[in-house]
Point group: C2
Chain length 419, copies 2
Amino acid sequence: MTIATTTARERMLLAKDAARQIALLDDGRKSRVLRALADAIEAAADDIVAANGEDLARGRASGLSVALQDRLTLDVGRVAALAAAVRDVAALPDPVGRVLEERILENGLQLTKIAVPFGLVGSIYEARPNVTVDIAALALRSGNAVVLRGGTAAELSNAALVRAMRGALAAEGVSPEAVQTLDEFGREGAKELMQARGIVDVLVPRGSAQLIETVVTSSSVPVIETGAGVVHVYLDESAPLDRARDIVVNAKAQRPSVCNAAETVLVHAAAANRIVAPVVEALQAAGVTVHGDETVAQLARDVVPADETDWATEYLSLDIAMRVVDDLDAALDHIRTYSTQHTESIIADDDAAIDRFLAEVDSAVVMANASTRFTDGGEFGFGAEVGISTQKLHARGPMGLRELTSSKWVVRGAGQVRG
Amino acid sequence: MTIATTTARERMLLAKDAARQIALLDDGRKSRVLRALADAIEAAADDIVAANGEDLARGRASGLSVALQDRLTLDVGRVAALAAAVRDVAALPDPVGRVLEERILENGLQLTKIAVPFGLVGSIYEARPNVTVDIAALALRSGNAVVLRGGTAAELSNAALVRAMRGALAAEGVSPEAVQTLDEFGREGAKELMQARGIVDVLVPRGSAQLIETVVTSSSVPVIETGAGVVHVYLDESAPLDRARDIVVNAKAQRPSVCNAAETVLVHAAAANRIVAPVVEALQAAGVTVHGDETVAQLARDVVPADETDWATEYLSLDIAMRVVDDLDAALDHIRTYSTQHTESIIADDDAAIDRFLAEVDSAVVMANASTRFTDGGEFGFGAEVGISTQKLHARGPMGLRELTSSKWVVRGAGQVRG
């Protein structure tokens, strides 16, 4: 642990001050700064990998799980991939300055609503050093300064990455204070970040459901919740078997550890005899354990009995829950009860069922006849993804650079006063 | 106080359930329901005025200030005005269902981002029974259910208004549970409302700075902050005297008690000799007390000495602070330090100064050569105003019906899976 020469609050104030400079950089300048950041990260690869080796040694000594060790690991290849991702962000269109609305009032006042940076973006995340670079690049590209709190497990890795980025900012004539870390302040740093309303404009937590819950309930800074996905696929009475099978297997097994992977399949009772057995077999062939209700267990082999807990579980593994429901209304009821409002998909040929499902399911993304794995900033064409918002305020669903901007009204007059 | 037959949480769950029905009402139906609401409020005017009389008697007995008594008072004329405001909201365009974005991906997926209701909107406010009706009408028009917590001082008035509105909903075949009050649960009701994350989708506090601060720091439900306005008018070196005088007087004196009224005038040092005395005299002629720094006191008569406290004060009265600053940079510094980021206006002829001010002042509304009193949903042409947001998340500046909606992505496919 390094000795902090400033307090967490002082660092945030320095970042807030630097934010003013970043907000005024033009498109070309921001792109150039980001490319310099990418170069600096690659140039510092040896330092970064060495610091990461120390984090890993400490992690192994303290019993960090193999999965978390993998997330934590940075080798030269992964550092190069981080730099490449920054270059991709550099090439994206500038979200700042877009005209969102224009109107001229009868009294002649000219109103323009334009996209402006938030100012200072905060992020609290867990042992994933890649987030350090991702969030910093996205924040800077959208004209914001950034304050990072990445957890002690990756502290030395994050410090090396931040050092490289701050060096690049300084070399480009931009205040290095625009990128700050609070890692060395431990839990106190996170707490101060969550209470920095008026200094930090928005806070984006990334990590486990527990981390997000803590931030959401403790923060007085406005939060964008990037939440868990208890994602449903509903197989309607009219669902063609091939399509149902292909989409369920893809939605679950193509990458089971992510939030847009399906966790529960609901099957219309009238389609159960036709669909349950072949879909279960296809899932099992892909290595998936099916947790089913009694009807599913009667219709297919090797089904693990499911209970209430399964309906509410985000497995993030090669497990899926399956339930037979009476009809579309029962499916909508189930989704209303257990969904985290991330993504739900209906597989059907019946337009009336599709229209009702799309209108009545209240989730960030509602789909018909597509794999839930498509809920993704990259797939949606945003070029980069800040996270997937499961709240309704400000941003909902995959967030790109635009979601890291606010707006302001610019009013031009000629001396108008109110009568 | 009436005996509650349900708990605060039960009421919120009933409202949440009713929200599903409201969300699916079409434009014409919502307008009709609102007109029925207006009729019911007028028909119940005697009941409402009688209940209000009891609230007022209690208020007078407990020493409620005359100003608060005035805010609390409902006579037949004010009830009719409330009903008329509901009819205005009924006539506004439906904000739900607007297509916000459309794209077709290379794989053929059709993406549409549409405006959807939040679901359940909560509001915490103080002794203003008009807010009970305003917020309910705005929430219903935008397809939301609403849960209200209006304070004990107006409890009987609010109850009578809610009774009338719920009766109208039931008569229109819409669940009356879509409009709920938690008034009779006292402080506990407010607390439960602020902790109802997952049930209440967004919370809009309306009232004093202290009330808003409490909600912002205590609520785990996402909040839209409608904040205080320490609003600045900056008189540049290039400011024409007539325009400066007219705008400053209008911005302060046309209605001093509202958040968009000016509270501080900053004057460029090079314009001070020319501008300070006549502007102070015009303000004084309009009944305004000027709290000035030393330079202002030297240049004009009857100036009350101002100190640091004045710069940070939202007077909401016929008082204004005035300070002479070295230049535009010093004005920007002052605004950065003391502004609540509501509205600031520059009075100038110099385009370079105007452009810098509009770009660098980080407020919800930035103006050139216009009175700050124009920051208003009605003036901006929104037809109705939910409040003026001083936060950067979701909504910034005057909020209309659109700001009471969220969005969802609708994805239509033909069996696409992710490769």
